[in-house]
């Protein structure tokens, strides 16, 4: 609804719209003989900034001779010593939106518009190293919850004129600030248009985390794996957008979404590009092995010991049989129980305060593990299997969620059908992985469809001197992509 000329009526209407919320404040001032109101939200603005950039300069207009309210509005609008971020607002909804985003809105009696002045000064967590993406080398900076601070972290690293931030407002009630970030000369117009189209379908009332947006970007994907990734590191995001990807910053969360996101990216980290290629190649192979172990080892163990003991050497088989002889449960049930206990421990350790979390870990590892083996409830090899599986699953943290579910599925398959079940499960998993297309690019590219890129930055990480020769690195140029590189049309 448009602002009216009567200031009192505007203030009453605005107060009614926020149902007289106690953080919604308005301060009366007189400028050049005209009654004005400064409207803002408590805690969203910097009091010092407000005093320095608005109240102090406005004091000079207290006794000025300016004829009408419109003229006063134009004069204030032209004043260059007020806050740099200025917007003209015409409706009451806009007044509220700006006030709730850390602006102070100046309304003048007799004038049908207001002036929003950016004096954001809310408190936010200071920039620190991200907890989930720690690196040995490279920057120690991680994203914070305030999206605008995150924008500066990206801009500081990418001083290119092609870097573009695009603002969106999502959530009918939360009015969350969302920014798309991409390189206009790298991104595919098709991918960008599709991302915007899918984000346009969000009809949620509140967007409180980037996880709320993911399912809309990831739709048509019935899989445990997601075609949308996330990062907490500005340097990683800069690397991604340089490959033609789009970053999606959601205000209120340090996790920035990245689309399109491929399977092989789960095995990459920023350290890979700072360390020597031969070592990174070894680490990459290790990560792929750890990923395989993390979902396949418990199921494989159950399958081999239950259905195919002939595979094992006699000595090994005897030791396993001795360990399992006194246990009351079948191996499959034993594996399920111990893995469920492990997941309960992990979840408890994750949500509890750190000091209590450590205690839970000790109880889990020493008391339950040791006691269960001593009591003859669980065989020692199974404890070893759980430990190996758990350690391996933390090597690729991005894939922890699918791995957990797959682990249980493979235990069941191995328990019921042996290696036949494992093979069928692998087939279904492979089919599912290969059927995912993330914004027109196969999720498994460049592994399948195979491309030379697999020997540049997937299994093997070539050196920078090799990578800079004839390697565009652009995501839409990967094999199987239906979104061929169009030279960047981010402005289109």
């Amino acid at each position: 609804m448009r602002l009216c000329a009567n200031l009192t009526e505007n203030i009453v209407a605005l107060r009614a719209m926020v149902e007289n919320s106690s953080d919604f404040l308005n301060k009366s001032i007189h400028l050049a003989g005209h009654r004005c109101e400064l409207v803002f939200c408590e805690g969203m603005i910097g009091i010092g900034t407000l005093a320095e950039l608005i109240v102090e300069p406005l004091r000079e207009y207290r006794d000025a001779h300016i004829q009408g309210p419109e003229e006063l509005f134009l004069t204030l609008g032209r004043t260059d010593f007020l806050a740099a971020d200025q917007k003209v607002v015409l409706t009451r909804e806009e007044v509220l939106q700006f006030a709730m985003s850390g602006f102070a809105v100046l309304l003048i009696d007799g004038c049908e518009k207001g002036l929003a002045l950016g004096v954001q000064g809310f408190n936010f967590r200071s920039i620190s190293e991200p907890g989930n993406e720690q690196n040995m080398r490279g920057s120690r900076e991680g994203f914070v919850e305030a999206a605008r601070i995150n924008l500066t972290m990206i801009r500081r690293r990418m001083k290119s004129p092609h870097l573009k931030f695009e603002y969106m407002n999502l959530g009918s009630e939360s009015k969350t600030d969302v920014f798309l970030v991409y390189m206009t000369d790298k991104v595919s117009a098709k991918v960008l248009a599709e991302i915007k189209e899918r984000m346009g379908t969000i009809r949620l009332e509140a967007i409180l985390d980037s996880g709320y947006v993911t399912p809309f970007l990831d739709k048509k994907n019935a899989s445990l794996f997601s075609g949308v990734g996330y990062t907490e590191r500005p340097d990683t995001l800069c690397g991604k957008i340089m490959e033609g990807r789009v970053g999606i910053l959601v205000d209120g969360t340090p996790f920035v979404l990245v689309a399109p996101y491929l399977f092989s990216e789960n095995f990459q980290s920023l350290d890979d590009y700072a360390q020597r290629p031969y070592y990174v190649t070894f680490i990459r192979c290790l990560k792929f092995l750890a990923f395989t172990i993390s979902f396949l080892l418990p199921g494989g163990y159950v399958a081999v010991v239950t259905h195919h003991p002939e595979l094992l050497h006699k000595e090994l088989l005897v030791k396993i049989i001795e360990a399992q002889q006194g246990t009351p449960f079948p191996l499959m049930v034993e594996a399920l129980i111990i893995h469920i206990i492990f997941e309960i421990m992990r979840e408890a350790g994750l949500r509890l305060p750190k000091s209590v979390g450590h205690a839970v870990s000790i109880v889990g590892a020493l008391v339950i593990g040791d006691a269960a083996v001593s009591a003859g409830l669980i065989g020692t090899p199974m404890v070893l299997i759980v430990a190996l599986t758990a350690v391996s699953s933390f090597v690729v943290p991005n894939l922890y969620e699918p791995v957990t579910i797959l682990k249980f599925a493979f235990i069941l398959l191995g328990g019921f059908w042996g290696l036949y079940g494992i093979a069928l499960g692998l087939l279904a998993l492979l089919l599912n992985l290969c059927s995912i297309n993330t914004f027109g690019i196969p999720y498994t590219s460049p592994i399948s469809p195979f491309g030379k890129a697999a020997f540049r930055d997937v299994f093997v990480r070539a050196s920078w001197t090799t990578l800079q020769r004839g390697h565009s690195g652009i995501v839409q140029d990967l094999p199987g992509s239906s979104v061929q590189s169009d030279g960047g049309h981010g402005d289109a």
Partner: protein, 370 residues
């Protein structure tokens, strides 16, 4: 169910066909149906048989001429009723062949590895994965097949390393014995049950870039794989292989690595993967053939009905040895794949020659030729 055309790459297409062909050779061992056939004769017959397949493939390329059509489309183009009949017959044969491959695979499991369990316990999950493969479409299936090819190659390499210690080089002498009768028998056997020829002519519609090198690559890989496997079996097992129903399985049983003894379980995994590729390829070809028979509005229900029939047939045939033998005779014994590939090919050649002749004469007589 994907009705529209999905495209796959040349290498993906070749790998898919090679894996399908490998299914036959994992169970195949050059042996005589009556009496002894010299090993050299059977290998030579095998190579010649594959060469003949290459030749027929080249014939198709001479016909195809970059039009983007498969054999089913050509038949429909030149004679619609005959084309529909051909598509129907092809779909029936592909369905029977798929059911035969499913039964062959599950019967192997049920006989050799899990003799105590019920046939259906193994059939049902396998059918589930097959249907999933058909539903996701040929594009995703081809990507999966490429990964399977690598897994299969690694597994076979593992079995090779596990058996290389048992190899008896003196068995190589058998190569010197080549007799015409044995050679001819193997040559015919390779051709009469070569389902890959039909897969080539049907699924080529999904090939993004068509070059005759598809057949060339297929020939080299398929022949190399088949000869390599036969040679390995012969050298490691000798004449014992001829007594076995599943010689490659017997080879895996006898193999031994220091970490694991007996590699038959690896063989099981390979065969699950390869059987999946073969049967899914057959089912996808069946879906493609049905496009020429069914109207658009009935396509989805028709395909589901066909898949249900194949599943029911697999369940019924697997339970009865007599039915299985009958199905084997139909699929492998009566030259059906060769007939379904060669006859329409020759017919289309004939029609094209007649049309060209007519146009040429018309032009000469000054009739309207635009």
């Amino acid at each position: 169910m994907h009705k529209g055309i999905q495209y796959i790459g040349r290498k993906q297409f070749v790998l898919l066909l090679v894996l399908s062909n490998l299914f036959s050779y994992l169970t195949y061992y050059p042996r005589a149906s009556a009496g002894q056939v010299a090993f050299g004769s059977s290998i030579a017959g095998l190579v010649l048989g594959n060469l003949a397949v290459w030749g027929i493939g080249a014939l198709f390329f001479a016909l195809e001429d970059g039009t983007g059509k498969n054999l089913c489309d050509f038949m429909l183009l030149y004679n619609r009723p005959l084309g529909r009949l051909y598509n129907g017959l092809l779909a029936i044969f592909l369905g029977l062949s798929a059911a035969h491959s499913i039964c062959g695979f599950v019967r192997f499991l049920n006989r050799e590895i899990f003799p105590q369990s019920s046939y259906l316990i193994f059939l049902i999950p396998f059918l589930g994965v097959l249907l999933f493969g058909v539903v996701v479409g040929i594009e995703s299936f081809a990507r999966t097949a490429s990964v399977i090819f690598v897994c299969a190659a690694l597994s076979i390499a593992l079995i090779f390393f596990g058996t290389v210690g048992n190899v008896e080089p003196s068995a190589l002498r058998a190569y010197s014995q080549v007799r015409w009768s044995g050679l001819w028998g193997t040559f015919v056997a390779v051709l009469q049950s070569n389902v890959e020829l039909l897969l080539l002519f049907t699924l080529i519609k999904h090939l993004a870039q068509r070059t005759p090198s598809v057949f060339q690559s297929y020939f080299w890989l398929a022949t190399g794989g088949a000869v390599g496997l036969s040679l390995l079996v012969k050298l490691a097992l000798g004449n014992y292989a001829q007594l076995q129903q599943y010689p490659f399985y017997a080879l895996a049983v006898s193999s031994d690595l220091s970490v694991v003894q007996r590699l038959d379980s690896f063989y099981l995994v390979i065969w699950v993967l390869i059987s999946f590729v073969r049967v899914t390829a057959l089912l996808l070809a069946l879906c493609t053939a049905l496009q020429g028979v069914l109207h658009d509005c009935r396509y989805n229900s028709g395909v589901w009905a066909a898949l249900a029939l194949v599943s029911a047939l697999s369940a019924a045939v697997g339970a009865s040895s007599r039915l299985y033998e009958w199905l084997t005779a139909v699929v492998k014994g009566c030259f059906a794949p060769l007939t379904l590939a060669l006859l329409p090919l020759l017919y289309v050649f004939y029609k094209r020659a007649v049309n060209r002749g007519g146009k040429g004469r018309g032009g000469a007589r000054g009739e309207a030729v635009h």
